[in-house]
Subunit: 134 residues, 2 copies
DNA sequence: CGGGATCCATGAGGATACTG
DNA sequence: CAGTATCCTCATGGATCCCG
């Protein structure tokens, strides 16, 4: 029988619950990568007007051209980002969040605040753990 | 000046907002890995009684001993999981979520439901994107 | 039983150079 | 300006074997 806990599906077997890796996890995996949230946040702040490639680069400390390009392509592929290309000389490209993309960060806000509230304790636990095994 | 958007900090400069990679992101990165959520979910279902290493292995399809060990160690290090070791022969080890660990999945539930609601559309966007560039 | 140790394949991510 | 194209390093994760 299919069950859920906190939105995650599992099957109830005679040996106990059985969890499987599932496809939607790719969304969390993407969010967990190094630059995605920073790019989306920058676009969210700009909400209303689009941002150019160079503006995004300037606004995200340490990102390289390559990683910005890859991050933007992945977001575009998922339908979270719209890319507007103008074949002028020199070329101009503008980016903005789609409606779906704009709805994502607010949905994550509850968890973001959980992290903010618990981060000091987590850091403390890590230090204690590392210290005990040094 | 320090500002925030959806809980994420950034600095307002004369060239526009500036975002930096920040440490708490490691929590999201950990959640984005392959097994963490499945392990935590299994422990959450068992809430009230502890689970043994072998029970966790059985309940998570495809996980190897090595990855289960690594995932458990990381959770323990962050203070999300408690490990109880009994030096018998053969040895027995029991795991349970800490109070902080137990509070994490509920905090994530809002975003989990966002994923569930938007997943079909994301899949559709990916197919369309891949099709257009084939 | 619950790992640790080791080896290996893959992919993320960084540095640099080049281009339509 | 907004990328590609290469090359490189390192971390993640899988497979296998061994051990107290």
């Amino acid at each position: 029988m299919a069950q859920h806990i906190y939105g995650r599906p599992y099957e109830e077997t005679k040996h106990g619950p059985l969890f499987r890796p599932c496809a939607p996890h790719s969304v969390l995996a993407r969010l967990g990568d190094k630059w995605t949230i920073l790019v989306m946040s920058h676009l969210a702040v700009a909400s209303g007007h689009r941002l150019r490639f160079s503006e995004l680069m300037q606004g995200i400390e340490g990102i390289t051209q390559r990683m910005l390009t890859l991050t933007l392509r992945n977001l575009e592929r998922d339908g979270l980002l719209a890319r507007h290309y103008f074949p002028e000389v020199p070329p101009r490209v503008e980016y903005e969040l789609t409606v779906m993309g704009a709805s994502m960060l607010p949905a994550l806000e509850g968890f973001t605040s959980w992290i903010r509230d618990h981060w000091p304790r987590i850091e403390e636990c890590r230090r204690a753990y590392d210290e005990a095994r040094k």
